[in-house]
Amino acid sequence: MSTRRRRDRRVVALLTTRRWALLIVAALVAVVMLVPFYLLVSNAFKTGADYSQRGPLALPEPWTFSAFDRYLGSVDYPRLLTNSVLIAGVVAVVGVAVSMLSAYAIGIGRVRGRTWVVFVLLMATILPQEALIYPLFTGAQAVGLQNSVWSVVIIFIVLQAAFGTYLLSSVLGTFPAELLEAARVDGANRWVILTRIVAPVLRPTMSVLLVFFFVWTWNEFFIPMIMLITPDAQTIPIALAALKGQNTLDVTQLAAASLLSLLPTLVFFFLFQRTLTRGVTAGAVK
């Protein structure tokens, strides 16, 4: 009796130690992940002289908005934000819709040569963007969309939808045949099957895809940099890059600008965080 209780106590002690160890490791990881954010925030609120004299690690002395003032004074931030949100938003929504439609044809409709179609789409996502830029630029010029956000919107709808189609069509390839069979027996046509049966089942996956498309497009740099020339058409990452001169770099302004560009993505992330986790684990319990 007493030996057993002693053993129990030892087990409990062991478990507690292990839990504490885990907590400490987790805390360490958290600190490591927060350091870059700390650097970003603390340097964004410094004056240039403070940064230079006391180094990048110190806390601001005094706290100031001067770096933000410099950045906001040199760019039209609301305009940049509108452009970025417009591009990323439209691409995410339309991209998912296009992916769904074509994946439905490939995965459920089982069109002839679907393996090749998927293969070509996969190739398209692997191709480096540098290889595409000349034709894209000439094309945009031919239809009068150069230096317009819509050129970038169209390009990224196609590029993201290529990946989305690849992903969704392989998911749809394993879609339960019984469900489709039952729907057909009930007299559902293709459109009804897509909107009433397939889409609702795939909603979590589509939400994740939506979030990914948004974030990926938001961070896109190379193609927007070449397509969008004037400041009124540019996106936030492009304006950020323009802060680095040939020989000069205003670190505090860069930190302030990065912080401002991070905020919209953070807001977006918190809005969609639940969708994201739900989507990733969808199907895990089935």
């Binding site: 180094g55 830029i133 070449i226 020339i229 004037t230 492009i238 020989n247 205003d250």
Partner: protein
């Protein structure tokens, strides 16, 4: 007759009315030239009240990789900043993407103000090599390599001013080392050591040797003469510890920061650091050119060029004229830049005047020696990695130069 005149007016009117005049540039907003151009914009708008002007900004890297794509289109800027050098402006010129400006330059007398080695990087021959041929752009500003010194630290260690000779300079370096202070803030992670190296070569080189190397004329030998002497000099500095021991990991920002924080008595860097040091340093400081140097590393800045497909070329010439006007040029000088056609005597700030006086002296002696990466594409990366190897002692002057000769020869023949 009247109808004809009216028709003509309508024509010319519509030409400038529905077209926006677009200026494309990539200097960051904190630079003296960017701020000077804001003044130029005001003047230009006053002189052309019926023209819609758009002043667009992009990044240096963007123009570096996209200028060609951008200029092949129909909708090009009317006047734009172009990088100097064979790989950038030279290529655009050779491919006919930017217009030769020689006639305009002569007609408006710009060639009287921009001469000698300040002019060299504005002219390109039909193969796109700088140094001779037609004008393809007009520089507004220049930069050169110089020493910044911390007068307070110098005084603390018993020196009452910057050195006059190379021997004095090195004696000061030794004195600081003896006191446990690394004398020069530098970096090999970006371009400071590269330019220090080129400055030490320029110090003992003559004009023909530099021009042959930069403009790929004849078969320059980089393994002997000034090249060997200068490279050996840099190796001596590195081995003596003048430039610190951790060079390769340091970037330009860190180098400037450490100097401004008062950790080093000297910093060897280009004049582009001037604005930051002058805004942020809390000690007495100044600049002095490398002592006893025959030539000085430095070059005219980016060029205002007119794209071949531009639609408002006369306005473009007017814009360039405005940027070269005494008012704009002096404004740039007052903001801490080095204008190519400014009036140094009119600068009020003593440090800025001193810096511009250094440049005037260099210009009068026609002593700009450019920057070492201009002649061959890829040379910058080669020199950077070679000098990093030199900085950490894994190669020496002679073998670095032998490799560079090979790289240079194969690059200039292709």
């Amino acid at each position: 007759m009247l109808a004809l005149a009216a028709g003509l007016t309508a024509c010319s009117g519509s030409g400038s009315d529905d077209e926006t005049f677009t200026i494309l540039q990539y200097e960051t907003t904190s630079t003296a030239q960017y701020r000077g151009w804001q003044r130029a914009l005001e003047i230009f708008r006053e002189e052309h009240p019926d023209v819609e002007v758009e002043f667009a900004s992009t990044s240096f890297d963007s123009i570096r990789s996209n200028a060609k794509i951008l200029l092949t289109g129909d909708d090009v800027p009317d006047v734009m900043l172009v990088n100097t050098g064979n790989a950038d402006g030279g290529q655009l010129a050779a491919q006919g993407l930017i217009d030769p400006l020689t006639d305009v330059v002569e007609e408006r007398g710009w060639d009287e103000r921009i001469t000698g080695s300040v002019r060299s990087l504005a002219v390109y021959d039909e193969t796109g090599h700088a140094g001779s041929g037609d004008w393809y752009g007009v520089p507004n500003v220049a930069s050169f390599f110089t020493f910044y010194y911390n007068a307070d630290l110098l005084a603390e260690h018993g020196f009452d001013g910057p050195p006059e000779t190379m021997a004095e300079l090195e004696a000061m370096f030794d004195a600081f080392l003896a006191d446990g202070v690394t004398p020069v803030s530098s970096n090999a992670g970006e371009h400071a050591v590269l330019q220090t190296w080129w400055q030490l070569i320029s110090a003992v080189a003559d004009r023909p040797a530099i021009d042959d190397f930069i403009f790929v004329d004849g078969e320059p030998d980089v393994t002997s003469g000034a090249f060997l002497e200068g490279t050996q000099h840099l190796q001596d500095w590195i081995e003596a510890g003048y430039l610190g021991t951790q060079l390769a990991g340091i970037k330009a920002d860190e180098m400037e920061r450490a100097f401004i924080a008062g950790e080093f008595p000297f910093m060897a860097n280009g004049t582009w650091s001037f604005a930051r040091v002058s805004e942020e340093a809390s000690f007495e400081w100044g600049t002095f050119a490398f002592p006893e140097s025959a030539l000085n590393a430095g070059a005219s800045g980016h060029l205002w060029s007119v794209p071949a497909n531009a639609k408002n070329k006369d306005l473009a010439y007017d814009w360039i004229e405005t940027t070269l006007s005494p008012e704009v040029q002096n404004e740039i000088a007052a903001l801490g830049g080095i204008p190519v056609a400014g009036d140094t005597a009119s600068i009020e700030d003593p440090r800025m005047r001193e810096l511009n006086e250094q440049f005037d002296a260099i210009r009068e002696r026609d002593a700009l020696s450019f920057y070492p990466d201009y002649p061959v594409p890829g040379l910058l990366d080669f020199q950077m990695s070679g000098l990093q190897a030199l900085a950490n002692g894994s190669t020496d002057a002679a073998s670095f130069l032998a490799d560079m000769q090979e790289f240079y020869d194969s690059g200039s023949q292709s």
